[in-house]
Amino acid sequence: MSHTAVLSPPDPAATRATPGGSAPSVARSGRSRRRRSEGLQGWALAAPAAILIALFFVLPFGLTIWMSFFDWPTFGMPAPVGLDNYTGVLSDPKFGEAVLFTVSYTVVASVLGILLSLGLALLVRPKFAGRTAVRALLFAPVTIGFAPAGLLWLSMANARTGVLPDLFAKLGLAPGGTDWFAEPTTTLAVVVVMTIWKTVGLAMLVLITGMDSIPPEVYEAAKLDGARAWTTLTRITLPLIVKPLSLVILLTVTTTFLAFDQFYTMTKGGPDGSTVTVVYYLYNAAFVALNRGYAAAVAVVVVLIMAIISIAQVQLQRGRKAKP
């Protein structure tokens, strides 16, 4: 394509091989001066963001790491305890259960959510009457917070007064008066459905944007070659939206792994403590047990798990790209 040449950066090798270097020292000092001023400019431009990141990420995270080596009660003085908090976290079977539950919740909610957002994106991408309205409706739940969304679904799924169990009973799908929050499986199902309802719109929008950037000529060419819908999807659409799709996967997995609000409002970790996520475990340590040092250690462990997941995802995608 012709416009790529315009957009590509000047070849550094070409600049280096400046012909006629009769006064190399002068040229070098001029270059280094320019480089220094460019460096300063770069720092000046990056400073606002760097300061914000330092203040609101590096500093709190540093403080969290620091606190994790202390017994830091809400009342009273902190005392250093070395690695005790970490051995405590890693040897607590309840933390293991929370990690296991969070991983399975992440897998279920992410896979279903991503497939559904892809399906919806394909459905509402072509032009049809009322397309904007349908897209807006699908996106609407994204605009409310997780806590109100959780409370809304909690009241809709209430066994005594909710509309959903009543509807299911009338349709003959479930016996009347069933309490969905009494069983771990049905509880998880309600939360997963709510989470997908709440998040699928955003993922769908990102994927539509990716699909819209595919030039129509590509589809026309495929059509001329007699490609069917499935082939078009797997050979053209999906490979060409790899970047937005990776973004959606990364965002979905990280936000799902860090789930808290929906469980706090809908299940309180129940029934029988079966829906306690890692962040819920962290909340309990910090705000119920009021043990801030221990909670800080949990936070550091969670950040490490998140880092491993994210790095693994990026590596996997790189590996896929490297293949011919």
Partner: protein, 433 residues
């Protein structure tokens, strides 16, 4: 990944320096600048007093303050602090020296507040004013450490059971003689469940830790057993707790207690009973008042104490809010003026009973016009008990704590009470040790 370069290292060093500065700041605890409590005399000088309350009891907390403001030069300004953030907000404020003049907290959190040293010793002042021996005992118990009293009752409430007299009549039970033993409760609940038509004999909010502390603990206390030991640790592994759990299990197995109780985190505390389909509901006096005062109930109901296994045994959790003066207040004399007014017999009689609400004092007569809805709780408050443990939050109030797990595993999942209390004991000991 890139190796951190020199500038990254410099940034980290600066970060560490700021962190340690912040930490030194965090280390300084609350320092008192209030005058010595024993030299205080109440002053109505027109000062503005700040007061923290938790939401939920505005009908009492705000209405009482309104009365004080209307009759005094001092003016009390209320801030509503969300209940589940109260302790953390309190801790943060006490470290930064920004506590209000007066704190009103859920009485179960008072042991922690007293232990932190943030509250002013009111013992001598209350003794001189004549209030000390005439206040709701559970509130005083929760505010006492080493024989010194740091708080007074502000909102009084008490656990009890409400029963539907109409359903009692339908089931052939005597509505004027409510059950006084566990067997009596079981018998009445079975009879009402047997009426059919969606009627349930019994209800308790089985997924709500606060409600269970309030309404299940009295069945243990009624047998003469203690749940919290002197040192603030817990005693679950005993016969009384096992028997109380078995009693609740029986109600569930008989079909008197509905399945939905397990996931009721408090929204059904009184509303399930208000539907008119429940015979007996373990609830609380204020819940009944909030739901029924100023309305016209569609059925007749009565109130009675939560019994033990034997006739004559009963107990009650006296809950509500405690008010305390902070050590950091700049207006100790004015704050004491409010507390003195709050605990006077006149305020109990003229302000609280006019609302109407249960008063802080136990030596005033309940107006007959208020009926059994107030006379029964007012008598119960005099014998109210409470949890006095700094570990209440973690052991009892937490939805993942051993207390709820013990109750639910036995009552709804059919676990053996002896095994469940042993597990709960182990989990509670791990927290308190």
């Amino acid at each position: 990944m890139k190796r951190p370069n020199r500038s990254t290292a410099a940034a980290l060093a600066v970060g560490a320096a700021i962190t340690s500065l912040l930490l030194t700041g965090c280390g300084t605890g609350a320092s008192g600048n209030a005058a010595a409590a024993e030299n205080l005399t109440a002053e109505d000088s027109g000062a503005t007093l700040t007061l923290w309350v938790r939401p939920g009891n505005e009908a009492v907390t705000d209405a009482v303050v309104e009365q004080y403001n209307a009759t005094h030069d001092n003016q009390v300004e209320i801030t509503h602090v969300p209940a589940d953030q109260y302790v953390t907000k309190f801790a943060a404020a006490s470290q930064s020296g920004s506590l209000p003049d007066i704190l009103a907290a859920d009485l179960v959190f008072m042991p922690q507040i007293v232990q932190s040293g943030a509250a002013l010793d009111l013992t001598d002042l209350l003794d001189d004013s004549g209030a000390l021996d005439n206040l709701a005992p559970a509130h005083v118990q929760a505010s006492t450490a080493d024989g010194r009293v740091y708080g007074v009752p502000y909102v009084a409430d008490t656990s009890l059971y409400v029963y539907n007299k109409d359903l009692f009549r339908q089931a052939g039970l005597d509505p004027e003689n409510p059950p006084t033993t566990w067997d009596g409760i079981l018998e009445a609940a079975d009879a009402i469940t047997a009426l059919g038509d969606g009627n349930q004999g019994f209800y308790i909010s089985g997924g709500c830790t606060g409600c269970l502390a309030y309404d299940f603990t009295p069945t243990i206390w009624a047998q003469g057993a203690e749940v919290v030991k002197e040192d603030g640790s817990f005693d679950f592994d005993n016969q009384a707790t096992q028997d109380a759990l078995a009693f609740m299990q029986q109600l569930y197995e008989n079909g008197d207690l509905p399945d939905t109780s397990k996931t009721d985190t408090g929204d059904g505390f009184f509303s399930v009973f208000a539907s008119g389909k429940v015979g007996i509901d373990f609830a609380g006096g204020n819940g009944v008042n909030t739901a029924t005062l100023g309305t016209d109930p569609t059925f007749e109901f009565g109130l009675a104490p939560i019994p033990g296994a034997e006739d004559g045994q009963f107990a009650t959790f006296s809950g509500g809010d405690v008010a305390a003066i902070t050590k950091t207040t700049k207006h100790p004399a004015e704050a004491w003026d409010f507390i003195q007014w709050l605990t006077s017999p006149e305020t109990s009689e003229d302000v609280y009973y006019n609302l109407p609400a249960l008063p802080p004092r136990t030596d005033v007569t309940t107006p007959e016009s208020l009926g059994e809805q107030f006379s029964v709780p007012a008598e119960l408050v005099k014998q109210g008990q409470t949890y006095v443990s700094p570990f209440y939050n973690e052991v009892v109030a937490s939805a993942q704590g051993p207390f709820l797990e013990m109750f639910q595993s036995v009552v709804f999942n059919g676990a053996d009470p002896a095994e469940a209390t042993k597990q709960a004991q182990k989990a509670a000991d791990a927290i308190t040790q």
